[in-house]
């Protein structure tokens, strides 16, 4: 989308405006179609604002109704559309008063904006509006909606007319939805919140649709140069990742603030590392010599097979074993879903092979030992597995998306700058 296309769209809009201006009786009919389009767009975009607008519209429309009783079609149109805040607004704005305000705007806009637009675009990076022709049309509609709002403000105070014009210009060069917050100073707080929401929604939607850039929008009062935009993106990313960490680290949910969270994370990592240390010490103490070296056994029985595929060989070697058949049903009961079987069988196999040569080297199949071992240690393992499974599944998707955005980021920043 270029300035040229933009101007073309504006010209079209002007034409429509003039038609609506001159075609008195057709007014309602003519305006109905674009207004609906605007309204659809409007509701999609500014859904939250509607209520606010509806209030203002209700205030506005009542005097208008009395004014426009002369136009029967129009009154009907208004009444039929009373439900929609934006439609009522359109009516109020275009009929009740100064049509000069939109016209003056249109006459004033194109040259100045054409001059301003390229510079501002480069900085502020609103690629969604200028990406394709469809997007261009959308932005055109948005602009229309905004202009409607401008005129509404003009209705409230005639003296604001100039102001609204100026803000319309700057708003066009900046972000259109932001205008809602800049214009409606009366309901500034509400609007700002909703505009923030909508901008978030927009950025999300654009990310989903076209994942080759990140949509960054500056809110009112925020800096728009490339450095601070990049910094803001970075901070958002960090906070997003911190959220994942918060989910991961136990007892981190209640803590707010980055420092506290980092504290918790540090503690957790340290505790895990200490656990590793402790466990290795324990193992070293338990084994008088590094006792995992049941080499002759391992190298013959388990590890050649291990290199080809651990679980399958573990299973097959176990299947010959009557003991395995004995504890298998029990284990399936323990592990609610059969997912841990892959883990358990080699685990058990390994444990048995470890234990076997120590106690009974030649009778490898020690049934009593297995049945004794199983309830104590594997139970824990299974529970942990279940927990971990949940956690991993929850995390895997988010992590993938993270990596996606991470890879994308570089190109985006380029685009914005």
């Amino acid at each position: 989308m270029t300035v040229l296309e933009r101007q073309r769209a504006r010209a079209k809009w002007q034409q429509q405006e003039q038609q609506s201006y001159f075609g008195g009786s057709e007014f309602g009919g003519l305006f109905l179609e674009p207004s609906q389009a605007v309204q659809g767009n409007f509701q999609g975009l500014v859904g939250g604002v509607d209520s606010v607008l509806g209030e203002v519209a209700a205030v506005l429309v009542k005097p208008d109704l009395s004014l426009e009783s002369g136009l029967p079609e129009f009154g009907r149109f208004e009444l039929s559309n009373m439900g929609f805040g934006s439609d009522a607004l359109i009516n109020g704005s275009t009929t009740g008063f100064h049509i000069n305000s939109p016209t003056s705007m249109t006459s004033g806009c194109p040259p100045t904006v054409a001059a301003v637009a390229p510079e501002e675009r480069g900085k502020v990076s609103v690629p969604a509006e200028k990406k394709s022709s469809v997007a261009g049309r959308e932005s055109f509609k948005k602009r229309k909606a905004d202009k409607v709002q401008n005129t509404k403000v003009g209705a409230e105070e005639d003296t604001k007319d100039k102001k609204s014009k100026v803000s319309a210009e700057e708003g066009e060069s900046k972000i259109t939805t932001e205008q809602t917050s800049t214009k409606n100073n009366s309901s500034a707080t509400n609007n700002r919140e909703t505009s923030a929401d909508t901008s978030k929604e927009n950025s999300k939607a654009s990310e989903v649709q076209k994942p080759d850039y990140i949509h960054v929008r500056a809110r009112r009062g925020q800096a728009t140069d490339s450095h601070s935009l990049a910094e803001r993106v970075r901070r958002e990313k960090i906070s997003e990742r911190m959220k994942y960490l918060q989910d991961l680290v136990p007892g981190c949910n209640k803590i707010t603030g980055k420092a506290g969270m980092l504290d918790e994370i540090i503690n957790y990592v340290q505790s895990l590392q200490r656990q590793v240390e402790f466990l290795s010490m324990k193992l070293a103490a338990v084994n008088p010599r590094l006792d995992f070296n049941i080499e002759d056994f391992f190298s013959k029985e388990l590890f050649p097979a291990c290199s080809t595929g651990f679980p399958t060989t573990g299973m097959s070697s176990e299947m010959t074993n009557p003991a395995y058949l004995q504890f298998n049903p029990v284990q399936q009961l323990v592990s609610c879903c059969g997912l841990e079987m892959g883990m358990n069988t080699p685990d058990m196999a390994f444990r048995r092979t470890m234990s076997a040569p120590l106690s009974l080297p030649e009778t490898y199949l020690d049934t009593s030992y297995i049945t004794q071992l199983q309830p104590s240690s594997t139970w824990d393992a299974d529970l942990q597995n279940l927990l971990n499974l949940e956690f991993h599944q929850g995390r895997s998707t988010s992590y993938a998306s993270q990596q996606l955005t991470g890879s994308i980021e570089a190109s985006n920043l380029k685009m914005e700058i």
Binding site: A259, V269, P346, D347
Partner: protein, 187 residues
């Protein structure tokens, strides 16, 4: 991200193989501390190599193990046939580290200057909070292997990954330890 059980299996396999290699090659009897060292190192290396060197922390962990004078022989022994691949990783990561470090130093000096310029009264609370965060970030960097050379975003990502793997490692080790204990009791 893969299934945690398969991950644990992988770690277990690598660990036992590493330990096996370690013990077969050492003839003389080890003291308890040596044993502990060997076990810990092999467990760490198993964890890192289970990650396939795709993340920075795993590469750094392996690299650190191979740098260390005391552990170098042990690490090479544990890693066995993989040590060549590891060396490659090691060299590349070292080069990268150098670059990053120089950049970091530069940036740090820049920021210091900027902070001095800005008015301290207004941003006092802000700067205190920032300092707290910075301090903790530094600690975290020292905890995560290779963390000194990461920026903040990748540090947090790597921490996420590292925590997941550490958990798996701890689980595996706990399993083995409990099995061992039961063994001893039986005997």
């Amino acid at each position: 991200m893969r299934n945690p059980s398969s991950l644990k299996q992988e770690i277990l396999k690598r660990w036992i193989m590493g330990l096996q290699r370690c013990t077969t090659s050492s003839k003389n009897r080890m003291s308890i501390l040596e044993r502990k060292n060997a076990i810990k190192l092999s467990a760490d290396l198993a964890m890192a190599s289970a990650r396939n060197g795709r993340t920075f922390w795993s590469r750094a962990l392996i690299a650190n193990a191979s740098i260390d004078n005391d552990n170098r022989v042990l690490a090479q022994r544990i890693l066995g046939p993989e040590s060549k691949r590891v060396k490659k990783f090691f060299s590349t990561s070292l080069i990268r580290n150098r670059k990053i470090r120089s950049k970091k130093i530069l940036r740090r000096s820049c920021t210091v200057r900027r902070v001095r310029k800005s008015a301290p009264q207004k941003l006092l609370a802000n700067s205190i909070a920032k300092r707290l965060v910075q301090k903790r970030t530094r600690i975290l960097k020292s905890l995560v292997p290779g963390g000194e050379f990461m920026d903040e975003i990748s540090l947090i990502e790597e921490t996420l990954d590292y925590i997941a793997y550490l958990r798996a490692q701890v689980d595996v080790m706990r399993c083995i330890a409990s099995a061992e204990l039961i063994d001893r009791k039986n005997e």
